[in-house]
Symmetry: D2
Subunit: 349 residues, 4 copies
């Protein structure tokens, strides 16, 4: 067997960072050679993630010496807050590492950042070079990339579900309303203030609508995949769960589109894809059946009364919606089978 690929995880103290370490640990073609963090530097992995304490002696290093990191690792995962990775990635890339960024820093056009993320992008030159890391739709682009922008949790099922139907002309390219539901870990860092158990149990509530930063990401991902320009309205909701993201997308059905046509379109598109489960017409998505796995579940139907095509999709936001998809992208980058180290079977119940 060839030498293992040396990889770094920067920003290890978050949930996605913890999942990256957990999943990479069993990856037979990878060696985790650098684990870095900002505030967590100096601690061991076991102190920061007690459930990983069997790996406890691994020390978390600072992430300011990019040369050292690039020397240690051929590929670096950046699991840092939005706005941080765009500062780090160019240096790592220049020093020769490939980069898989789990933040939103390389997913949009430069002009979107002030509006949706509140900062001016510091390295706009890299935006065009970044591959949008949705492996089912952009396999080759990813395999050749030096920089992969790993998609957001909500856009993953939304784009996978909508793009094929737009491309096939089964839905009209008008406004699409996307209603998202997420467990607390999918609500992002802004949720930390509102994520207490006392406030979250028995609470159903929208948040950050209509300005959520996944809105333009859905629009751009759909355009890249289908060639269609559409406007998305995205209204995310927090529900009392830890993991799991489900989107229900409402589009105008094209003349003559039927429930079987939209279902068959998705089935045909993803035939053979190891991580996409298209449900037969009439079956309902359940986010729980994806939990702990890298699967996405998709369902589509047409409502004739209202002329609506509905697409429902769900993922485990920390796996297919973050760390798992990042490893799937790594597998493409290094020429491994894309399922390596990625569970297809959910932990249920």
């Amino acid at each position: 067997m060839a030498d293992p690929v040396r990889v770094a995880v920067l920003g290890v103290s978050g949930y996605a960072g913890g999942e990256l370490v957990r999943l990479l640990w069993d990856h037979p073609e990878v060696e985790l050679t650098f684990v870095g963090g900002k505030d967590s530097a100096g601690s061991t992995l076991g102190e920061v993630h007690p459930h990983l304490s069997e790996l406890g002696q691994i020390r978390i290093l600072p992430i300011d010496d990019l040369g050292l990191i690039s020397e240690s690792a051929e590929v670096a995962f950046l699991a840092l807050p939005n706005g941080s990775s765009s500062g780090l990635a160019p240096g790592l890339l220049d020093a020769g590492s490939k980069v898989i960024d789990l933040a939103g820093d390389f997913r949009l056009a430069a002009t979107d950042y002030p509006t949706w993320y509140g900062f001016d992008h510091p390295a706009p030159g890299w935006l065009d070079e970044a591959a949008y890391g949705l492996p089912e739709l952009f396999t080759e682009r990813i395999a050749d990339a030096r920089l992969v922008a790993n998609p957001g949790c909500y856009p993953t099922p939304a784009i996978l579900g909508l793009a094929p139907l737009l491309a096939a002309g089964l839905i009209e390219p008008g406004p699409i309303r996307v209603d998202g539901k997420t467990g607390i870990t999918g609500a992002g860092r802004a949720a930390s203030g509102i994520g207490s158990f006392a406030a979250t149990e028995e609470s159903i509530r929208p948040y950050r609508a209509p300005g959520h930063q996944h809105t333009p990401e859905m629009e751009r991902g759909i355009r890249l995949a289908s060639g269609k320009d559409i406007d998305v309205l995205f209204v995310p909701h927090l529900v009392p769960a830890v993991r799991g993201v489900l989107v229900s997308c409402y589009a105008v059905a094209a003349q003559g589109a039927t429930s079987s046509a939209v279902t068959e379109c998705l089935s045909a598109t993803y035939d053979g894809e190891p991580f996409v489960r298209v449900l037969p017409a009439g079956s309902m998505v359940d986010s729980k059946r994806t939990r702990g796995s890298n699967m996405v579940e998709l369902q589509a139907f047409v409502d004739d009364r209202s002329g609506t095509a509905v697409v429902v999709g769900a993922v485990d936001n920390l796996i297919k919606g973050a760390a798992g998809q990042a490893i799937q992208n790594l597998n493409l980058l290094i020429g491994a089978d894309q399922t390596t180290a990625l569970p297809r079977l959910a932990m249920y119940p």
Copy 2:
């Protein structure tokens, strides 16, 4: 003080029945004189609802002797499964009792029943006479009624939120997509098979779409209140909660409609209503703030990018969405203050 009004609760063994008894117990102008059930007849209240065991000696009676019930009670609450109350209500009405029906049996037109409920309506003559029991919109009609059709949990916030905007011309009378989220007690009887803790925790999933029976109820309630004919697509979802229903409604915004215009329209409509809380623009509804109370929370905004007007509303499905609203209707019927025996302050957290 006048003699208390004698009331009956039929179908006491369900959740709505239990809440009716709990809330009526403290109603100063009412005496609960008859408690009836089908399978639960013969048991005591405390056996069927252990949390009510302080009322434990009350015996549940069979509900087949309509004459006896009418003799015992001036008003009867029917908290029976869909399809049962339409068989019982006419007999009670003929014998002189007023009826408040918590099922769907008197909410639609006769022609809707085969399609949406799967049965032919046995007493279509009463459908026109039934008042649709949304007190904020149909106060006088209810006060004069002999038969009140208590609204469904989802239609309550949807109609309260959408009808004023349609009437004011702030949203277009085209198709409206309503995305519902509910705790397990709001998913109705069909949820019982899927309502185990193991299957529900960490699960987000749509159900019974697009054929949910609350679809035509929303359409009809909106038409009654606004005069506008619209098509609704309703996609309900189950989330891991016990109580709480939240609807997010997506409509086409009228030319020039703004977030402040839609907010002000709702505020003006419900000014002085004790049970409606319209949030200022930018604030987000939280179903948890209605739990245990008879409140509805409403929020509206306009998204210019997609031309959408969004209305979000939430209730405690067992109170404002069932038993509490039924008692509010009773208060109108008997001339009591409509807030009598109904909590306005939620139990939080």
Copy 3:
């Protein structure tokens, strides 16, 4: 009707403070004349507790002018963190107000405070004067008191369950092991760091054992009620719930003690008490049947194989374990019926 009693709630921003306001709002013999807080001073009630926004215009005042508070209120509830009320209470008492303290500041002997609470008591002279506010056991003492030490959530069911059995000689006065389980709101302020939804869902864990400050409170309360000196080991556990405290107490059964004897002893002790439900032998306590009410549920049995008498008790920690019991004490203080404004029927499910 007589003039309402004017009451103050100090420390209104916490959960117990919110519940005090909610419950007092419907108290027919009380007027809430002063609402105070430390950091929350200047805000309105609706800002601090959005579920109480119907009372939103009430402004929270600072709590440093004790003269003003005493002038405003005949009785002051202190819902402040442990260690704060012992500084405030003497001034209020000297100025003529009665005080009901929900913290632990007046529940123990002076010598216990350094060990169990980590501070030297600033007003030891008041400790003997304080009545321990367990109404079922110390009715008259409370009715005559100027200062009431409202019990902790865990000690309430533990003392109510154990003291009668010790007094009756049905359990031996040796060490008693108390295993506590609580929802997150009962874990106290120390839980705030560990109370995120992500960390709490699917987590069962002990905390602060064996040094939890409710240990000496149980010992002292049992001694006051039964005359017996016993040692308690208390191991509290956090489980994924918001409300609800359940204690399982393991004591050495006295020779000849049986399940019916211990059950009958509890039944006889609490016969006629409105807020105590003693379950028949063989029935199991469920914390959920007390939620939203001021009830305590108790169960006792003897295991012959191991010579153990087991007592299980549960309360809603924010009501019978805090705000509700405080109002029950208020009712005794002001000569009202002790059930005034206190729900006996739980909100279920």
Copy 4:
């Protein structure tokens, strides 16, 4: 590599059956050659366990042809209800298969079955031959066995925690009180009637005490491992979780026993064991840190005031408490590394 070992899973439709299939799927030295069920026979795996639908074409076979099963599989896992496997196992053993039984049918002495399980054991001759499958304590016995009695979920952490302390004389061989807490999947089949989401959320309650069948299993396992005869009182409680079992065990501390002595005893006993994590004194067990893994977490301390030694232990009841431990036993049986196919890192959060 040698030919894979052919294994059967009988009783695949339950939770443990589903977990067996999920975990065995990735076992490199095993081939799943027979999947059987009673009522589920004729369905596919994907119909019974939708989260396993990627394995969907596997057909579930009836389990009445023992010859066929033995021909197909060298080792059979029995994940059947208590009382069923004792009827099947002898036939399979006679036909030459080895058997790992996940039910309680081979864990006790014949005389215990009428009392604790309510049936007369049909094959008492096999009881002595069965190895009690706690790999950390009975490695060699298991490796040589033809029949392994896989332990119950509660006894696993209780025996692992208590037996070494008894053997070392750090706790007295008197009565031990074990307070158990479990998520709904650990409460066994009897929980199905009480396991609705509406009844379980916000509910903490004991069940089946003091007659739970894990009581004599703890006693026997402790005796086998330590040589000490003790009486156990076991009081299990249901809390609102899906997975996770935690036991808090209260024993009389031996003269001179200290928190460091009991901690060191456990650390020394399990030094090098891949699936046991002994926490340093002062740290607290959290069941969530074991979820999805085959780990057990243990903690011990001594409370001098009450003379009590406390041992706390937790497992994921479906993995180390059922399917995972069964595979660990399989690994011993077939000479594989005992960690093969078993996660050590929990899925968190």
